[in-house]
Structure formats: C-alpha cells, structure tokens
C-alpha cells in the first residue's frame, strides 16, 4: 500500500507542475486509495480533453479589415537613443 506521505508529496508535485502526466501514470498504478486514483484519472483526462479543444479560424473579413487598416496607418518612428542620453 502506498504511504500517505508519498501521496501528499505527489499532490504537492502535481500542484507545482513538477510531475508529468507520464509520471502521474506510474504513481497511479501504485495507488490503492480509490479517492486518489479517481482524482488522478479524472485530472489527467481533463488535461487531455483540454489539449484537444479545437482552434477557431480567424474570420476572413477580419483579416482583410486589419490588412486594410495597416496599409493606411503610419508607424511610430523609433526614438533616437542619443537624445535619451542627454
């Protein structure tokens, strides 16, 4: 059975992002406490699902509008570094 101190150490590492998902898997196999096993399983699944959220495309009209505005917007001139030294 896994030592409770080890579980707390594991939780702390998880909190600090020092435990990779692979590392988590290894520990999961050792954990017999149902609550902790469920927590790790669902936590890992949440991260996996979030990684898979698809990105939305930029609306074409928005891209065109930005390009049009840029073409007629003057850029700010760089500051003269010599002036700053004075």
């Amino acid at each position: 059975m896994i030592d409770p101190n080890r579980i707390f150490d594991l939780m702390e590492r998880l909190m600090n992002e020092d435990l990779s998902l692979e590392g988590m898997e290894r520990f999961q196999r050792e954990i017999e406490d149902e609550f902790f096993r469920q927590f790790f399983n669902t936590f890992k699944k949440t991260v996996e699902l979030c990684h898979c959220i698809e990105e939305e495309e930029v609306p074409e009209m928005l891209h065109i509008r930005v390009v049009e505005i840029i073409c007629r917007t003057p850029q700010q001139k760089p500051r003269n570094p010599r002036r700053r030294k004075k």
Partner: protein, 191 residues
C-alpha cells in the same frame, strides 16, 4: 528566431505592410483564439484582435528582438484585453486571492468518469460544457490556461508574456485545471 521571420520583421519595420501581413498570417489564429477564450465573445475578440495587430504595427520599432516576436505579440494581446477590462471597470479578481470556487479544492467525491465513453470531444455536449466552463473560469487563470493547455506554450514563455514568475504560472495553471476538472465532474454527475 528564424531567419525568415527576422527578415519579415526588418521589412515590416521599414514600413512594408506585405511583410507584416505574412507575420499576421503566421500568428493570427493563435492570437484570435487567445482573445476569444479570454473574452468568451466573438465580437469583442474581433475588436481586440484588430487593436492588437494595429498596435503591433504602429509600435514595431520598439521590438528589439530581445524576446521572441510571438512573446511580444502575445503580450500586446493580453495587455489589450486587460486595458479594455480596466476601462469597462469590470469586476476583477485579485491575483493573490485564494480560489474559493466549488472546484478550487479537492472534494471527496465518487465516480471516475475518465473511462466514460462520453468523455470525448466527439461528444458535442461535453465540448460545449468545456467552452462554457472556460468562460466561467476565474480571470487570473484563464490566460495561463489558454496559453498552456490550448496553445502548448512553455511555462517560462507564459511567465514572460504575462510578466509573472514561473511558480505563479504553475500555480495558476494547476488551479485552472482543478477548476475545469470540477466543472467536468459536475457534468458527469448528471449523466
């Protein structure tokens, strides 16, 4: 920074809007999605997107290449959102405040939904739940979560973008994930 990007930046700095458009094409999806997830509103995201790239174009001379161009751009985008929210005087959450959400702490709950066949993004309802949950996520955690878990940006880079320490990035990310997990657990309880 790759040579092609360096050349595009140099050209754009000299006023070449076509070169800037190439940079826009390269980063627009990432920036748009960051803004979309931070605001949860397409119209507002589009407005902020426009502001971000116009500001980048105007201030390109200030980019000295010390950071990655993407980091510089992300920082402008995040600042644009924060500025807009400040103007609107929206209720903000203190960065140091402890999370007091229902899922901010680990509850002793029953049910391992990780193997539930519905736990997939093919499930439209779950996908919508994730999107809704992201809108409800406390504001300080949202940009860290989007940049890390949705855009795959390393934590060190996120720290530079948001100007926060690495431990702060890690702690916000963890809290954000706990929040999402809580939301998903609630969803599966009703299934």
């Amino acid at each position: 920074m790759e040579l092609l990007e360096r050349n595009l930046i140099d050209k754009a700095k000299r006023g070449d809007s076509r070169a800037f458009e190439e940079l826009l094409k390269k980063y627009e999806t990432k920036i748009f999605n960051l803004l979309l997830r931070m605001t949860g509103n397409k119209t507002e995201a589009a407005d902020l997107f426009q502001e971000t790239f116009i500001s980048a174009w105007k201030n390109l001379a200030k980019f000295r290449g010390e950071a990655n161009f993407s980091t510089w751009l992300y920082r402008i985008a995040v600042n644009t959102v924060f500025m807009r929210h400040r103007k609107k005087k929206l209720k903000t959450v203190s960065m140091d405040a402890p999370t007091k959400t229902e899922s901010g702490e680990i509850k002793r709950e029953r049910g391992d939904w990780s193997t539930n066949p519905l736990a997939t993004l093919q499930n439209d309802e779950l996908r919508r739940k994730l999107e809704k949950s992201l809108k409800k996520m406390p504001e300080p955690y949202r940009p860290v979560f989007v940049l890390s878990d949705m855009q795959g940006i390393p934590n060190e880079e996120i720290g530079k973008i948001l100007k926060i320490t690495l431990p702060n990035v890690k702690s916000r990310l963890h809290r954000a994930r706990l929040f999402m997990r809580g939301q998903l657990s609630d969803y599966f309880k009703t299934q």
